[in-house]
């Protein structure tokens, strides 16, 4: 019986370290592609994506293939959920086909947690609503470690639509477990004060210039218009106060790295100049998605 991965909040430091260490073995290390290890031959990974995704879904598929597992992907548009079947019935149906693991993304916070109570198949959360996106936080941590060599003591600034961001929550849980100082920054309508209470060592800052000062890592987030019922502020106003530009990078630590989980909106939350600069780790993050998800799948299937 494999172990589910529902969120970072439930993981301890040792487990996270083990995943991040294992991921190193799968990285290309100058080679043409990721390691192909076939440790999971004969196993079946079902990707059930009830919400659109390009990078996470393809990343999980590639990861499964590099481990030698078979994959089956279903999306909401083609699934029986679109025909009115309940989520629990759909997942029970998939589960009856005996997959080794179900990787799921869903627009409702807690959907995988709810299903995990009713399903025997282990579940990997590939993003639930505005709650958690654990594999994103793991690949972000791997990327920071690759470049800066540590998490402890770093000043990590996460900027943007914090309220609706599962990436922000998972990163807060992970980074604070390792002693990073996390600064959250965004417009007050998208950064509730309660956010400071979700983990120890979290600071809120509504002024972007103050937030980025001496930052080791700047992590930008997209404004999730699809989850917002009223626009928080006009687009031009947003970029003026919370869009990342070179002037902000200049205020940060000289070795600062800039990250973005994607999809990225140039000119809305980040300038092209910064996105395409040497500081930008955006493509490294995407690349690290595969080895980290290989390690996560192995954890569920083998460990």
């Amino acid at each position: 019986m494999g172990r589910s991965l529902l969120g970072i909040e439930d993981l301890d430091r040792t487990e996270i370290e083990r995943i991040l260490d294992r991921a190193v073995a799968f990285q290309p290390h100058g080679g043409p592609s990721f390691a192909k290890v076939n440790t999971c031959t004969g196993m079946m990974v079902v990707n059930a994506f009830f919400e659109n995704s390009t990078r996470t879904r393809s990343s999980f598929e590639i990861a499964a293939h590099r481990l030698g597992a078979e994959t089956l992907s279903i999306t909401a548009a083609g699934s029986s959920v679109a025909k009115g079947e309940s989520l629990v019935d759909t997942l029970n149906t998939l589960s009856a086909m005996r997959p080794s693991v179900i990787v799921m993304r869903h627009q409702a916070s807690g959907a995988p947690h709810f299903l995990a109570r009713h399903l025997s198949t282990p579940i990997i959360n590939a993003g639930d609503g505005t709650h958690e996106h654990p594999t994103q936080a793991l690949l972000d941590a791997r990327t920071i470690l690759d470049r800066l060599g540590r998490l402890e003591g770093l000043r990590v600034v996460i900027i943007g639509d914090i309220l609706h961001s599962r990436v922000a929550r998972s990163n807060v849980f992970l980074l604070t477990k390792f002693g990073a100082h996390v600064v959250l920054c965004g417009p007050p309508t998208l950064l509730p004060r309660e956010m400071a209470q979700i983990a120890p060592g979290v600071e809120l800052e509504y002024d972007m210039r103050r937030a980025v000062r001496d930052a080791n890592v700047i992590m930008m987030l997209r404004v999730q218009l699809e989850r917002i019922h009223e626009p928080p502020m006009q687009a031009g106003e947003y970029f003026r106060f919370y869009g990342l530009r070179q002037e902000h990078v200049d205020l940060a630590h000289p070795d600062v790295i800039v990250m973005h989980p994607g999809p990225m909106n140039r000119g809305r939350e980040i300038s092209s100049e910064v996105a395409d600069s040497q500081r930008s780790m955006i493509l490294n993050q995407v690349e690290n998605g595969v080895p980290v998800r290989m390690a996560v799948l192995e954890r569920t299937l083998l460990w």
Binding site: E9, S86, L87, V88, H106, A108, S109, G110, A111, H113, F114, H118, D128, G129, T130, H131, E132, L163, R166, R169, P192, E194, M195, Q197, I198, H229
Partner: protein, 433 residues
């Protein structure tokens, strides 16, 4: 031949009559005949209540029976049996059925159906507005003539202040309470739990306490304007309790009820994404729970009411944000109230009985043939017999409700109902009694 039931040697608690002593209660022909020591009643069926509390029949002024329209979740018959199992002899059912109880036709249907199928007294509450849509007043006078005892759009608030004003003016003349589900929908904005650090952490949209507070504030001003009897359903915030207390200090006829779950559970008790903890108003933070309990102790909160809200299993087996709001509560109300209020020494057993009997009767203004909530000669022979101490465990599989959505499954309580008597008939007995 007059049918007689003699309840012997119980601790008779009737707050309305100032009785709290060991005595007998005699019911004749469906009505209370006498309360006293060593009552002789030749030919009476007798019930030995030694060691038990004998109280007026409990009244729950906030129940959802789901009939007509949602009978897969509950019916008048099953809901009334669950009520009896909880010690309730009179329940008031909210109008959010399908069709909504916004006309004399639906009111009459419920009254007649209850007469045939219910084992306890069922008094319907009519809608404030047509379809409970908040815009046009329902046929309030006709519903009252057909048996409605109050008006409410419960499940939804009356958002439009002018409509609420007109409803209050109408209710004042009919001398019925206006019961409000206090939730400013613009502030609650589709939220699923109390807005707090936990809602932010779990990525769930929050319902701020202010969503309740602003509507209580508005309505108290409207109650002052109109002179109507105004009742806050399921009060859950510290500011709302404070405002009700303030209104009463100013002599306004404003009342409120609290549910057992809002005094027993706070956000910290929620199992993440478990819809058995999802209701409106949501479970609040500990400071609000303490304020509601304090309101009960100080008398700002008038009575307890369950907001028994059955939902069928498949409706509750969904993603948290898709699940409907509400939990069942009739069978656990007394156990929870004893645990939170009496066993902790916060209130006396006498006061607890009042919260379930004379107080809800006062809030609703029951009089004439509806007068109840006391063991007075001539009053309906409705009696609740309970044990204040015996341990029992709630197993929702044995529930008489059609639904099982409760956060209290598996919980062990100290004290609960033993016998429920309606109109002199024993309608429920605890297993093994």
């Amino acid at each position: 031949m007059v049918k007689k039931l003699l309840i012997r040697n119980g601790r008779v608690i009737c707050p309305a009559s100032g009785i709290d002593r060991t005595a007998d209660v005699l019911i004749e022909d469906g009505r209370i005949a006498a309360v006293g020591e060593d009552l002789g009643a030749p030919g009476a069926e007798t019930l030995d209540a030694a060691g038990l509390v004998v109280a007026p029949g409990f009244i729950d002024i906030h129940v959802h029976l789901r009939e007509p329209g949602f009978t897969h979740a509950e019916t008048i018959a099953t809901g009334s049996r669950a009520a009896a199992a909880g010690g309730f002899t009179t329940i008031c059912c909210m109008p959010n059925t399908n069709p909504v109880n916004d006309s004399a036709t639906v009111t009459t249907y419920i009254v007649e159906k209850a007469r045939r199928e219910a084992v306890v007294n069922v008094f319907p509450i009519g809608a404030i507005t047509k379809g409970s849509e908040g815009e046009e007043l329902a046929a309030i006078g006709s519903m009252v003539a057909a048996g409605a005892v109050a008006i409410s759009d419960d499940g939804r608030p009356v958002m439009n202040a002018r409509v609420m004003r007109r409803a209050m003016e109408t209710a004042r003349v009919l001398d019925i309470p206006v019961i409000q589900h206090c939730e400013d929908l613009n502030l609650s904005a589709g939220g699923d739990m109390h807005e707090c650090a936990d809602s932010v952490r779990l990525g769930l949209r929050g319902i701020p306490a202010a969503a309740e507070d602003v509507m209580v504030a508005r309505d108290i001003l409207l109650a002052e304007l109109t002179g109507a009897r105004y009742h806050v359903a399921h009060i859950s915030t510290k500011n709302a309790v404070a405002m009700v207390a303030f209104a009463r200090q100013r002599g306004l006829p404003v009342t409120c009820e609290a549910t057992p779950h809002h005094i027993a559970l706070d956000t910290g008790h929620m199992r993440p994404y478990d819809s058995n903890f999802k209701m409106k108003p949501p479970l609040r933070g500990p400071e609000h729970v303490e304020a509601v309990i304090d309101g009960i102790i100080r008398g700002a909160v008038d009575c307890l009411a369950t907001d028994h809200a059955p939902h069928a299993g498949d409706d509750k087996m969904q993603e948290f944000e898709r699940c409907p709001f509400g939990i069942i509560g009739l069978e656990t109300a007394l156990g929870v109230a004893l645990e939170v209020l009496v066993h902790t020494g916060r209130i006396s057993l006498n006061r607890l009985v009042a919260l379930f009997t004379s107080e809800p009767a006062r809030v609703m203004g029951f009089r004439g043939d509806k007068a109840r909530g006391a063991l007075r000669p001539g009053y309906p022979g409705d009696v609740t017999i309970f044990h204040p101490e015996y341990p029992w465990t709630y197993d929702v599989k044995n529930s008489l409700s059609k639904s099982a959505n409760t956060p209290f499954n598996g919980r062990t309580f100290r004290g609960g109902p033993i016998v429920t008597i309606v109109g002199g008939e024993i309608v429920w007995k605890a297993p093994g009694f």
